[in-house]
């Protein structure tokens, strides 16, 4: 794992066990100053647990956590210089928005005029000034989450932690607030660590994404890198909707050229950039539906014919389910070029955009 100079948050060999169950295993991440990191993974992968460890809400079993160069492994949450936003907003129901915002500051004994100043600033940034005297029950979901962000904002902290903050909102609001969070980040330039299971949020917000599974970080990289060059089959399948096509077959070498054999189809791999020196054997070939085109005869390195099984129009584009040999295969095409059911079509793609995985380990080849 590459380390970063003067990281804002540094997690070193972090492990967490609940009895015999290991939730996090020897995690290492460095988050740069002002970076937006997204922890992405299916539920139960330990991403929220990791966030709670950073916040100090869970005691770690092993390892250290540094925030701003200070070892905070044993510190209380309030002393770590973090602000946290929760999925269920977690606003104090009996307090007005203003009291919600000021609660932490009042507990810390900050002078009244300073509190007023900070609340005014947060309210202005988040545009919640008209709501200050309302109770949380009188707010909509989007307003509540804005207040919850404000509560982190007034704390004047270095690091923001978001625990699936948009998951309770409907699709439209989610898209709006996603943009607002991105704007907020570019305005404040704080370090942000954001947990989500939503790949769109991850792709759109993150400077870097950490894809997690089973308490282990599978890949930590820029969104485009993760999308285009997933390190293993799990990452490849988890990102992308509709999901990547996987074809089971064999990696073979003829006349010095590598190709991938699936049933009687042969996919030449001359343009594919291997991660390491390949060896013949069972492998999985993955290609994203949007990287496949209906062939109009122009020079794709690979072309084949397939039968259309189902057509799913999705408005902006259309998903076509095909049978390539005996294996399912999906292609994403623009709405104008929609074939009919049971048509035979020819498809083509460039294996340069594909990913090859070891059949046994699932690692990228």
């Amino acid at each position: 794992m590459t380390r970063i100079e003067n990281p804002s948050v540094s997690i070193q060999d972090l492990s967490l066990n609940f009895g015999a169950i290991s939730v996090l295993e020897t995690l290492n991440i460095d988050v740069a100053e002002g970076e937006f990191i997204v922890l992405l993974g299916p539920s139960g992968c330990g991403k929220s647990t990791l966030l709670n460890c950073i916040a100090g809400l869970l005691d770690v079993s092993e390892g250290r956590i540094f925030i701003k160069g200070k070892n905070v492994t044993w510190e209380e949450p309030k002393d770590r210089g973090i602000g946290m936003v929760f999925q269920s907003y977690a606003l104090y129901p009996q307090m007005t928005v203003e009291k919600n915002l000021s609660f932490g500051l009042r507990v810390a004994g900050i002078p009244r005029d300073e509190i007023a100043k900070r609340i005014a600033r947060a309210a202005e940034i988040l545009q919640i000034e008209p709501l200050l005297q309302r109770k949380p029950s009188a707010l909509s979901g989007g307003q509540r989450q804005r207040v919850a962000i404000g509560r982190a904002l007034v704390r004047d902290v270095d690091v923001f932690l978001f625990d699936e903050p948009l998951s309770n909102l409907d699709a439209k609001l989610r898209a709006e607030l996603r943009v607002e969070i991105k704007l907020l980040h570019s305005k404040l330039q704080n370090t942000m660590i954001y947990v989500t299971h939503d790949q769109i949020e991850a792709m759109t917000l993150a400077d870097r994404i950490a894809v997690m599974k089973g308490g282990v970080i599978q890949q930590l990289d820029a969104p485009q890198k993760i999308y285009n060059r997933p390190v293993n089959r799990f990452v490849a399948g988890f990102l992308g909707s509709p999901a990547m096509n996987f074809l089971d077959g064999r990696l073979e070498k003829d006349d010095g050229n590598w190709h991938f054999a699936v049933e009687d189809v042969r996919i030449p791999l001359a343009t594919y950039a291997f991660e390491k020196e390949p060896v013949p054997g069972a492998a999985v070939f993955g290609i994203r539906p949007e990287h496949v085109a209906f062939n109009s005869g122009v020079g794709w390195p690979f072309t084949a014919t397939a039968n259309v099984v189902v057509v799913e129009p999705m408005g902006s584009d259309t998903l076509v389910w095909l049978k390539l040999g005996n294996q399912n295969f999906t292609v994403r095409v623009t709405s104008e070029r929609t074939p009919n059911n049971a048509d035979t079509v020819s498809i083509g793609f460039d294996p340069m955009r594909a990913s090859l995985f070891d059949a046994a380990t699932g690692n990228r080849l």
């Binding site: 973090i82 946290m84 977690a90 507990v107 810390a108 509560r151």
Partner: protein, 311 residues
Amino acid sequence: MSDLAVSLPAGTGSIGLEASGPRGPKPRHVFSRRNIFLYGTLILVALYYLLPLYVMVVTSLKGMPEIRLGNIFSPPLEITFEPWVKAWSSACTGLNCDGLSRGFWNSVRITIPSVILSIAIASVNGYALANWRFKGADTFFVILIVGAFIPYQVMIYPIVIILREIGLYGSLSGLVIVHSIFGMPILTLLFRNYFSSMPEELFRAARVDGAGFWGIYFRIMLPMSLPIFVVAIILQVTGIWNDFLFGVVYTRPDTYPMTVQLNNIVNSVQGVKEYNVNMAATILTGLVPLVVYFVSGKLFVRGIAAGAVKG
């Protein structure tokens, strides 16, 4: 409206379907079999409960000569409040002849501190068990709950000895302590479940905001848990007020609670049985729980529901 809107004339339904027939709300008959059974049962049960109360009230308002006529259901011919006054201020129990008033004030002095003490401790217990998962919390909780299943009779004598040794036997404060201890298992369970049902993220948010154990308890949890406090207060007030066993065992005649005194008035074997005074005394004793239920009925139901389902 735009030209595009097509309005069908009323009554034209889909072609081929029955033109007449059921439409709109289903009619309900007042004297349906269902209603007769339902209200019949309710009235019957209500009568079953209210009749004794009615007899008590009318009897307490009659003079003794009228009672001796034997018409217990007939309303009083001549209403008198004499028995009520006597029951309150001059009925004799043993050597004292100052009525139930002494027992009433004793009961007040027992109930109020017991209720406050037991609820204060149990709510903090429940809060700690629900939110601060300290080491051994589960074991502690199990032990506490087992306490709820031990019959009181088993513990009477050991507690007599304990109270004697610490010099509180026969005093009101001794009884207060006993009541507080015996209220602990069920109240702790009540509070723990209520606090567990509150969203955990709220507690976490408060910790990130820097509030400590007591800060979260007083500023976040307490203001949110009024319903469960009302339930606890009702349970404790009625339970402690109605208690007879501990009252008779752990107090002396001049510190007897109202229930014990009532028993002594009603069961006195000397002289004439004054049914009207007995009835008045019984109603007086039952008045406090009755008032508590009437005043807080709605909150009680809300609290029970909140505790059972979710926060």
